[in-house]
C-alpha cells in the first residue's frame, strides 16, 4: 500500500492518501493546481516540504504525458530490454516480456503514434516489479477501446495506480476520485454525462484529402496510428495562412522564454492564465498552461481556422468548456483531434472518422 501522511509541496498542503495494491484512484484539478508536482513528489523527483511517504521512489514508476521524451531506446526491442537488463532479469523473463509486447519489436520509437507510444510505456512499467504506477496524463492519446483494455490489464497487474487526468470520463475507471482545489486534495464523486453529439448541419468550409470540413466544430476521430495528426498537419502546411495549429506537444512550437507578451490580452483572464503565470519561465509551466498560452496567441492572431491536435485533453474540465465556447465564436472553422468525445455533449459537431 502507498500511504502519504500530511505531505506538503509548494502547491499542495497536507495531503494524506492511501492507495491499496490493485486499487486505481483518479486525481483531477485545474491546470497548474499541482497535480504533476504531487506526482513528482510521490515518485521522488521533487522534494517534499514536510510529511511522509511510506514507499521508496524505486518502487514507484512515473509516466508523463509525452512518452517520446521518456524513451531511452531507439526501437521497441531496445526500450523493453534496457530496463530488464538494469533489473538483472533472466533471459526467460526477457523473452516472456518481449513475446507479450503490444507493438512490433522492430518498430522505431520515433515513428510510433502518440497513443502507441503511451501504450508501450505503460506496458513496460506494468511488466516491472514496481508496486505503484503514476500515470500523469498518460492515457490522453489513447482511444476508448485501447484505454479500457489497458485499464483492465493495470487492474490485473495488482499494482496501486494513480491516474492523473483532465478527462472526467476517465474517472469511471477509478475506485475513488480526488480533486485538487486551492491546494487541498479532496475526495469527490464525478458525474459523467453520456455522450450526446448534435449533428452539424452547417455549410462545407473546404475539402482536403477527401475529407469534408464544415464551418463550426469538426471532430477528427479514429484509432491510434490512423493518421489523424498527419492529416491535420498536412492541412496546416498546405493552407499556410489564416490557420493556427496547437500541436500535441506544445514545447515544439512555443517560441518565447516566457509569456509576458500576453499580459495585455483580453483573452488571458477568460482562458484562466492569470495570477502571473505568464511571467514564469516557459519550462516551468504545466502542459495545460502551455496550451493556454498558444490558445491566446491563436485567438490574438485573427486567423479563421483553428486546429487542436489532441491538445484540448491537457486542459482542466472548466477550461475545456470555456475554451470550446470561446473558440466556437472566434473561429469560423475549428478542427479538433480528440478521443474525449463526451466533452462535446449537446454541441453541434461534424465528426470525421479517419481510417
Amino acid at each position: 500500500m502507498l500511504q502519504l501522511t500530511n505531505v506538503c509541496t509548494p502547491l499542495i498542503t497536507d495531503v494524506s492518501l492511501k492507495v491499496a495494491l490493485g486499487q486505481i484512484i483518479a486525481i483531477t484539478g485545474n491546470n497548474g493546481s499541482g497535480k504533476s508536482s504531487l506526482a513528482k513528489a510521490i515518485a521522488g523527483h521533487m522534494e517534499i516540504d514536510s510529511g511522509e511517504i511510506n514507499l521508496d521512489p524505486t518502487e514507484i514508476g512515473l509516466l508523463t504525458q509525452n512518452p517520446f521524451l521518456q524513451f531511452i531506446g531507439y526501437t521497441v526491442f531496445d526500450e523493453l530490454t534496457y530496463s530488464l537488463e538494469q533489473q538483472n532479469a533472466t533471459h526467460a523473463k526477457i523473452n516472456q516480456v518481449l513475446a507479450q509486447s503490444p507493438i512490433k519489436l522492430t518498430r522505431e520509437l520515433s515513428k510510433l503514434s502518440g497513443g502507441q507510444a503511451q501504450q508501450l510505456l505503460i506496458f513496460k512499467e506494468m511488466m516491472s516489479d514496481k508496486r505503484v504506477l503514476i500515470l500523469d496524463e498518460t492515457l490522453s492519446n489513447l482511444d476508448e477501446v485501447n484505454k479500457a483494455q489497458i485499464i483492465d490489464k493495470l487492474k490485473a497487474s495488482g499494482k496501486a495506480i494513480i491516474l492523473i487526468t483532465n478527462n472526467l470520463n476517465d474517472t469511471k475507471y477509478a475506485d475513488a476520485s480526488y480533486q485538487i482545489t486551492e491546494g487541498k486534495l479532496q475526495q469527490v464523486t464525478q458525474n459523467i454525462v453520456d455522450e450526446h453529439l448534435l449533428d452539424n448541419t452547417r455549410q462545407v468550409a473546404f475539402n482536403f484529402n477527401g475529407y469534408q470540413f464544415k464551418y463550426g466544430l469538426n471532430l477528427v476521430t479514429g484509432d491510434s496510428n490512423a493518421g489523424k495528426s498527419t492529416l491535420v498537419n498536412n492541412l496546416c502546411f498546405e493552407l499556410k495562412t489564416n490557420i493556427s495549429l496547437i500541436p500535441q506537444y506544445p514545447f515544439e512550437m512555443i517560441t518565447t522564454v516566457d509569456a509576458s507578451h500576453l499580459q495585455t490580452s483580453r483573452f488571458t483572464e477568460v482562458i484562466g492564465l492569470s495570477g502571473g503565470h505568464y511571467l514564469q519561465n516557459i519550462t516551468e509551466l504545466s502542459t495545460g498552461e502551455l496550451v493556454k498560452v498558444q490558445l491566446i496567441e491563436a485567438l490574438e492572431s485573427g486567423n479563421k481556422i483553428l486546429v487542436l491536435d489532441e491538445s484540448i485533453e491537457v486542459l482542466d474540465y472548466d477550461s475545456q468548456v470555456s475554451v470550446l465556447d470561446l473558440i466556437s465564436t472566434h473561429f469560423e472553422t475549428v478542427i479538433i483531434i480528440t478521443h474525449n468525445r463526451y466533452l462535446f455533449n449537446d454541441r453541434h459537431v461534424h465528426v470525421l472518422e479517419v481510417q
Binding site: 513528482k40 515518485a43 521522488g44 523527483h45 521512489p57 524505486t58 514508476g61 512515473l62 509516466l63 508523463t64 509525452n66 517520446f68 521524451l69 521518456q70 524513451f71 531511452i72 531506446g73 531507439y74 526501437t75 526491442f77 531496445d78 530490454t81 534496457y82 530496463s83 530488464l84 537488463e85 538494469q86 533489473q87 533471459h91 526477457i94 523473452n95 518481449l98 522505431e108 520509437l109 520515433s110 512499467e125 516491472s128 514496481k130 498537419n233 496546416c236 502546411f237 499556410k240 495562412t241 495549429l245 500541436p247 514545447f251 515544439e252 512550437m253 512555443i254 517560441t255 518565447t256 522564454v257 516557459i282 519550462t283
Partner: protein
C-alpha cells in the same frame, strides 16, 4: 532466441578495418570491393533513398570544394579534377561502409561495444553500465532530437509566413532549447523508472542475432580479398 554477444564486436572490428584500409591505402581495389559488396547488400535491404541522395549531395559539394580549392592552389585543372574525384571516391566508400554498418547494427549493439572499448574510463568514474547507458541515450536521443527538430522546423516555417529570417531563427532555437530542457528532466525520470542504478558497474545486454559463423566468415573473406589486392 539465444542471446549472442560476439557479433557486435565482429561487426565493429570489420567497420574499423574497412575505415583503416580505405584511409591508409586509398587503394582503388579496396574502394571497388567496398562499393561492390555494399551495393550487393543494399540491393537486398530496404534503404532510405532520400537519406542516401542527400548524403551523396554532400559528397558532391565536398568534391566540388576540393576541386575549386586545388585549382586555386595549383592553377592546374587536371590536378584539381583528380583531387576532387579522389575525395569523392573516399567519401562514397566511407558512406557505403557506414550505411551497411548502420543497417546491420542496432544502437544497442554499438553502445555495448563502445562501452567495452572505453572501459578504461572506469578509472575516472565512468564504469561500463554508465557508459553503456550514456552511449545508448546519446545515440537514440540524437534520432529523437532529429525528429523533434524536423517538426520544430516545419512549425517555425508554418508560423513565420511572410516574416524575416531572424524571426525564423528565433522560432527554431527557442523551442529546441525549451524542448531539450524538458527532455533532460524526463530522461532522469525514465532512468529511475528503468531501474538504472549508478552503483551497478556492469551490465549484460540482451541481443538477438540469428547468423553467426557464415556471417563472420564472409566479413573475414572480404578483408582477405582487400589485403590480397593491395599486396
Amino acid at each position: 532466441m539465444k542471446p549472442l554477444v560476439i557479433n557486435p564486436f565482429i561487426k565493429f572490428a570489420f567497420l574499423i578495418s574497412q575505415i583503416t584500409l580505405i584511409l591508409s591505402t586509398h587503394h582503388n581495389a579496396v574502394i571497388i570491393i567496398v562499393i561492390g559488396y555494399s551495393l550487393i547488400y543494399l540491393l537486398f535491404h530496404p534503404i532510405d533513398r532520400k537519406m542516401i541522395s542527400s548524403s551523396l549531395r554532400i559528397g558532391f559539394s565536398l568534391a566540388l570544394f576540393m576541386l575549386i580549392f586545388s585549382w586555386i592552389k595549383y592553377q592546374n585543372i587536371t590536378l584539381a579534377v583528380v583531387n576532387g574525384l579522389a575525395l569523392f571516391k573516399l567519401y562514397v566508400a566511407m558512406l557505403m561502409v557506414s550505411i551497411v554498418y548502420k543497417l546491420e547494427t542496432s544502437n544497442k549493439e554499438l553502445s555495448y561495444v563502445l562501452s567495452i572499448v572505453f572501459s578504461p574510463c572506469s578509472l575516472i568514474g565512468f564504469d561500463q553500465n554508465k557508459l553503456y547507458t550514456l552511449f545508448l541515450i546519446v545515440l537514440n536521443q540524437s534520432f529523437t532530437m532529429f525528429a523533434s527538430a524536423t517538426r520544430i522546423t516545419k512549425y517555425a516555417k508554418f508560423k513565420n509566413q511572410g516574416k524575416t529570417s531572424i524571426t525564423t531563427l528565433t522560432r527554431l532555437i527557442i523551442p529546441f532549447i525549451n524542448n531539450n530542457l524538458k527532455q533532460n528532466e524526463m530522461l532522469a525520470i525514465a532512468l529511475l523508472n528503468s531501474g538504472y542504478d549508478p552503483q551497478v558497474k556492469k551490465v549484460k545486454p540482451y541481443f538477438i542475432t540469428d547468423y553467426k559463423i557464415g556471417y563472420s566468415l564472409t566479413l573475414i573473406a572480404i578483408i582477405a580479398l582487400q589485403v590480397a589486392t593491395i599486396i
